[in-house]
């Protein structure tokens, strides 16, 4: 197939290296978290290989261990991962004219924040071979990191596993704090979501609300409030995350 060239593929591969290294460490902490919450290591790897997303997987873990319903799982994944729809939509504008539907269907699986950001930064149009190359190492890193974390969680002393469970939250904090410093809107959304999350957790009247629904409620209300009160100034800024 003319649209699958080695040159495009290797270019994508190279661009995927830093993403893969980052994923290795994030998924390592996901693997540990999954095992410390009672899942087998291979279940953690299966989740990573079929989902390829951090926040959605951690929320999913919480719903699985709490014994939530399938509907709750579907709604939570929908809200948490809704941003990918915007990214797919945005990147679909940049695809080459010959980008076949089959290739679209396959490469869409790898639409993550980082892969989207790098692909959006490509000068000119994006071809399928480039997307396959770009997705290869991050997918491998995400899967391998989960495997290593899952095995480490099984082997490491309990004390070490317990503190390593903080790693994934540390990364979440590292993702939200710098933009919250720079943007009043992001800061307000972060504080509002945190406040609502605490309210849902600690106020007895809300004790029937499970963790999955709590995230859905907080995310929808805080984001809607942010969009109403702090609309962003310019169009087309999706790439900045």
């Amino acid at each position: 197939m003319a649209e699958l060239t080695i040159c495009d593929y290797t270019r994508g591969l190279r661009h995927g290296i830093p993403i893969a290294l980052g994923y290795l460490s994030v998924s390592f902490s996901f693997g540990i978290a999954a095992v410390s919450q009672g899942l087998d290591w291979w279940v953690a790897v299966l989740i990573s290989m079929t989902n390829l997303t951090s926040a959605g997987q951690v929320a999913g873990l919480g719903i699985i261990t709490a014994g939530g319903t399938f509907l709750e799982m579907a709604l939570a994944q929908f809200i948490i991962n809704l941003r990918y729809a915007l990214m797919s939509l945005s990147l679909s504008q940049k695809l080459s004219a010959k980008y076949a539907t089959l290739h679209r269907a396959i490469t869409a699986f790898a639409m993550t924040d980082e892969i989207f950001a790098v692909a959006s930064g490509e000068p000119g149009e994006v071809r399928p071979a480039y997307m396959y190359g770009l997705a290869t190492l991050p997918f491998a890193g995400w899967s391998l990191g989960t495997l290593l974390g899952g095995l480490a969680g099984t082997l490491l002393p309990e004390l070490l596993c317990a503190v390593l469970g903080l790693a994934i939250y540390g990364m979440f904090i590292a993702i939200i704090i710098p933009p919250a410093r720079d943007s009043v809107g992001v800061c307000a959304v972060v504080v509002l979501a945190a406040a609502m999350s605490c309210a849902l957790r600690y106020i007895p009247a809300f004790s029937g609300i499970s963790s999955g629904f709590s995230i859905i409620i907080c995310a929808v209300l805080a984001s809607a409030a942010g969009a109403l009160v702090f609309p962003r100034k310019k169009q087309g800024e999706e790439a900045e995350q």
């Binding site: 299966l46 994944q77 990918y84 269907a105 503190v163 903080l166 590292a174 999350s197 805080a222 942010g226």
Partner: protein, 103 residues
Amino acid sequence: MRLLGYIAVMALVTYAIRAIPFVLFRKKINSRFVQDFLYYVPYAVLSAMTIPAVLYATDHIVSAAVGAAVAVVLAFFRRGLLTVALSACGAALAVELVMLYLL
């Protein structure tokens, strides 16, 4: 098997969100509200998932709180993801060891 059911639901919903716009849509979203809403969603999700759950991520609330505080300070000064995460773990480990052997 219920566990595989959960994983199938997660994977299918997540894939559908990514693939449907990528395969079908060729136009851009025009609503400013929807654009801004989607822009804020990741931050709201991560914040709600982290607070207060981070306090229960270790064996003791004290070590988790110290670890989280270290993460917030380092993130405020724009340290990288890995630095922030490992420093939080290190701080929590130090607190756990103090509680185990010195208190």
